[in-house]
Symmetry: C2
Subunit: 418 residues, 2 copies
């Protein structure tokens, strides 16, 4: 069978499974996840062995240490995977919820029923735990999913899928609700993103290059985020302690994540007071600083930032710093250079906080809180399948609700339109 037929066949099976899942009850879907979690724990050895194959192959291929680390399924990570599925079980079922059912002047009742989207295509890179998370969220929300993980994680992903298939089967649900693309041929991705008939939406996760290619070539809607050029703006009416806490946490709590701060904007009025304090913290954490001329004048050891720095998502211990005249210039900077991901203002001024919330056009806009909070768990979604910087359908962390749609329901009693 060629790749085209193979992917089409996965799509056809997923479409069929999605109809069954859409009609399944909460109990069956939860049961599938609970059983899968138990099997992941009891078959831990199978997972570790499969993962070992991937690790050996990865070393032979010369993958770097960071990649091998992300690929590894330790016992702790396997336990976390099972725990993640159980957390999804504990979330309320979004499917079938009817909102706003109300009578209209004609006498009909009109409301909206939450329903699954249908078939999700996930394309992602090395970390195998995404396989369990994505499958769990899709099953819970009544969707079928086709998972295309990184080729370097293929054995691990197959082993995880095996556990999930047991769960689905024992709960009386079709195994093909969750399918792994078993070929590592890159053509499979090109096929997936053109299956208009069988796949409803593509969710890519991974490097910018992958996501750009997918969203450019896809014939299907794509839920994605490209960049996380996140800003913290310290207003001159900021509380210094809060500002330091937020600006240090946003940069240093973790570097390689999309919700880490990449550019710090500081109001001119507070810069002489706060920059030296922040400078010490960043220095202690080994963060390289690149700043505008004014920043360099206030702080020793700051390299000169060039235009490109303001656009850059470092994902590393590097920070760009710019001094601005105030709120207007901060918002203008964020609008021009930002990536609409997550931006924070630190201020005690109510009117400025309100303006920042309204005028900054990002998926998450914050007041006096670290950008690192932009996350499905922290937002109470329970889990996230990705983050969207698009404006349509889903925005910001995408949890169960982002995997659903709503249909209109109309209840009458023989009502006709006049």
């Amino acid at each position: 069978m060629n790749i085209k037929d193979y992917i089409q066949n996965l799509g056809r099976q997923a479409r069929g499974a999605s109809r069954i899942l859409a009609q399944s009850n909460t109990k069956a879907r939860n049961r599938a996840l609970e059983i899968a979690a138990s099997i992941i724990e009891s078959d831990e050895k199978i997972l570790v062995n499969a993962n070992q194959k991937d690790l050996v192959a990865g070393q032979a291929k010369g993958l770097d240490r960071a990649l091998l680390d992300r690929l590894e399924l330790t016992k702790a990570r396997i336990a976390t995977m099972a725990e993640g599925l159980r957390q999804i079980v504990s979330l309320p079922d979004p499917i079938g919820v009817i909102d706003d059912l109300s009578y209209q002047p004609s006498g009909i009742q009109v409301g909206k029923m939450r329903v699954p989207i249908g078939v999700i295509g996930m394309i992602y890179e090395s970390r195998p735990n995404v396989t369990a998370d994505a499958a769990g969220l899709c099953i819970k929300s009544g969707n079928a999913v086709i998972l295309r993980g990184g080729s370097e994680a293929i054995h691990s992903n197959q082993a995880i899928a095996y556990c999930i298939h047991q769960g689905l089967e024992q709960a009386g649900l079709p195994q093909v609700a969750v399918q792994i693309v078993e070929t590592t041929d890159r053509a499979a991705v090109s096929e997936l993103i053109t299956q208009e008939k069988y796949i409803d939406v593509i969710i890519p996760r991974g490097g910018k290059g992958l996501i750009e290619r997918i969203s450019h070539e896809s014939k299907l809607p794509v839920i994605k985020h490209l960049d996380g050029v996140c800003h913290v703006y310290i207003d001159d009416r900021a509380d210094v302690n809060k500002a330091v806490a937020v600006a240090v946490n946003a940069k240093c709590q973790r570097y390689g994540v999309c919700n880490a701060m990449e550019t710090l904007l500081v109001a001119r009025g507070i810069a002489p007071e706060i920059l030296p304090i922040l400078g010490k913290h960043y220095q202690a954490d080994g963060v390289e600083l690149r700043g505008c001329l004014e920043t360099q004048n206030l702080l020793l050891g700051v390299k000169s930032a060039i235009e490109e720095d303001w656009y850059t998502e470092y994902l590393a211990p590097i920070l760009a710093i710019r001094i601005v005249s105030g709120l207007d210039e901060a918002i203008a900077h964020i609008t021009h250079y930002g990536s609409h991901h997550t931006d924070t203002i630190v201020t005690e001024d109510l009117t400025r906080a309100k303006r920042f919330l309204i005028e900054v056009d990002s998926s998450s806009v914050m007041v006096n809180a670290s950008t690192r909070f932009a996350d499905g768990f922290e937002y109470g979604l329970g889990a996230e399948i990705g983050i969207s910087t698009d404006k349509l359908h889903a925005r910001g962390p995408v949890g169960l609700e982002g995997l659903t749609s709503q249909k209109w329901i109309v209840l009458g009693d023989g009502h006709i339109r006049q």
Copy 2:
């Protein structure tokens, strides 16, 4: 200036205007619409004269009568247009509404703020009233819009835009929030649908050919519906009076609309009783019937339906009728042949009604009500900019809410992530 530069310039201006609109208050946006409505009424003569130019040109071009009729701006239609804008004024402002603001375990408050999408690109055909409706909905929801109406309505559309520009200006809002594509060159459409930087979503309205071309070529998200192959299924536990009322209204209340019934499915158990009654009604209304063999046996003068009939949106006094064994077969037929627009069951059986609501995957699913209710006004949205049969972002009639997005807002007090 060439078309590419021209459209890009419209886009750039729209993007700028969208930022101002997003930050404008309810009062200013409502004021713009109220003034525009008054000017439409007081400048009725200007509108009629502009429209006259289009009608004369249309006749010279040999447009058919139906098209000329849709193009015409009568005094009554102009009054309705102004009334439509005032109705939009009376709708609640969706922008800035904050939902679900609640404390998370970390201590941050997380909620969602409703915001405009940004810049809408509308592409539509002859009816000039769409210009006023679309501009009104976009202004109210804080979006800028670029309107590309039919070339045959260009003078009418310019005159309507003139009225709206007066409203915007007098309310202190940028006139370029609403822009008409002034060229009738078809290349303008191709340019519009590739302005990824300046336009956020394309809403095409018109014939299937236009919409297919646009959604195929667009680099932007498209909110659209292609077909309205709507079904009424009369269950054998239907109330005969309700069934007749619904099945006649769904077909005969208006023919050329997307929410008219195109296929009638009748349970075998009730067909001998109900088909003769329905047959008389349809005959009286001059509806051509095309049926399966069983239908032909029960009813005189029914043509033989071929496979293609089940897929067809007639938009005409033609109806396909099929007798099915019951609910399962009805749902299977709708799933296979339908277009996910609007489908109705007529039944007194609660369990079957519930199954139909859950299992039929259409943008509107109804019980004991005419498919003709699938409409923004009837659903209480106040107005609609279009209907979507897609599942992502907006589904069914698209009103103000469909023109908005939500961003996450996070309020802390110096909170950092642990």
